[in-house]
Symmetry: C2
Subunit: 234 residues, 2 copies
Amino acid sequence: MEINLNKHISGQFNVELEQIRNDVLKMGGLVEQQLTNALNAVNNFDHDLAKQVLENDIHVNKMEVKIDEACTRIIAKRQPAASDLRLVLAIIKTITDLERIGDEAERIARVALESFNKAQQEFLVSMDNMGRKATTMLHDVLDAFARMDVDAAFEVHQSDKALDKEYEGITRQLMTYMMEDPRSIPKVMDVLWSVRSLERIGDRCQNISEYIIYFVKGKDVRHTSEDDIKENVL
Amino acid sequence: MEINLNKHISGQFNVELEQIRNDVLKMGGLVEQQLTNALNAVNNFDHDLAKQVLENDIHVNKMEVKIDEACTRIIAKRQPAASDLRLVLAIIKTITDLERIGDEAERIARVALESFNKAQQEFLVSMDNMGRKATTMLHDVLDAFARMDVDAAFEVHQSDKALDKEYEGITRQLMTYMMEDPRSIPKVMDVLWSVRSLERIGDRCQNISEYIIYFVKGKDVRHTSEDDIKENVL
C-alpha cells in the first residue's frame, strides 16, 4: 500500500491518512487489550481487572468519535476519490465494529464480577477456549488491516465458521447443564450471554475483513458467499 | 430541511440527495414490514409468513449495498461539505443499522417455524407486547428521519429505557419458567434469543436517532448522556 499512499501530490494529505490509519491500529490495540483483559478477569475471577475493563471502555468510545471526526474532516477538506475515499469509508465502518467489540468485552468483564461454584467454573474453561479463538481473529484482522492484506483478511473471514461451531457446541453443553441443575440457570445464563458476545465478536471481525477487501479490491463483498469472494474478487 | 436542500447551485445534486433519502425511507419501510411480519408469524404460528421474511431479507441487503454505493458516488462526484456531507455520512450509518434490524427480524421469524405447547405460548404473548414497542420505535425513528425532526428523534432515544425494562422483566419471567420446567429450556431459549433481538432493535433505533441529531445539529452525540443531549445539543 505504501506506493499507493505516496502517490498523492499533497504530502500533507499523506500524513493525515497515515495518522488516521495509525489511530485505527491504536484503537484496535486497545480493544484487543480490553478483550484479553476481560477474558483473563473471568478466568481468574479477578475483580480488579474486570473493573479496569469497565472503566477503560470510555477510551475506546472516545477514540471512535475522534477518528470519525478526523475522517469527516479529511473528506470535507481533501475531497478524496477512488482508493483514498474507499480507505476513509472503510475506516469509518471499521471503527464502528471495533467500538462494538469493546462493548462486548465490557459485557464479558461483568461476568467476572459474579461468583461461580466448582461445577459452574467448568464452563468458564470452555468459554476461555472460545475466547482465545475470538481474540486470535481480532488480532489477525487488525494485522491484515495494518498491511491491507486481502488474503489474510479472507482467512479471518473463513475462520469464523470454526468459532460458530464452537459456539453451538458450548451452547448445547450449557443447555444440558441447565436442564440437569435448574438452580444454576441464572448463573449459566450469564455465561451463555458471554459466549454469545464472543460469537458476535467473530461476526464483527468478519465485517472488518470485508472492509479490507472493499478497500483493496474496490468491491463490496458484504452478503457475498465465500466461494464467490474467492472466485471473483481475490 | 427543504429550504436547506434547495440551496444547492446544482439542481442535479439536489435530485440525487433526494433520491438517496427516498431510498433510505423505502429500505426502512421494508425493514419495518419484515419486523411486523416476523412478529405476526410468531404470534399466529404462520410458517408461510415466516418463510417469506427469510426470503425477503436479501432485498434488504441489496438495498443496503445499493444505497451505500450511491453515497460513495455522491461523495466522489459532488464533494459535499458541511450539512450535505453530514447527511451522506448519517445515511451510510443508518442503513447499516437498518440492515442489522432486518437480520434480527429474520432471527425472530425462525422462532415461528418451531412448535410450542400451550404454556410456552404464553411467553410468545409477552414477547408480542415487547415486539409492538420495538416496532413503534422503528416506525417513529423512520418518521423522524423523513422529517429530520430532532425532537422526535430524541423521544425515540428516550423510549428505549422502557423497552429495556420490559426486556429485563420478560427475561426474569422466562428464567423462572425454565427453573420450574427444565424440559422446556431449549424452547424457552429460542424465545429468549428473540426477546434479546427486540432489545437490540431498540438500541439500533437509538443509533439512528443519534445520526439524525448529528445531521441536524452537527454534533456527534454517541456515548453522550440524555441529560447532556437535552441541555447542550437540542
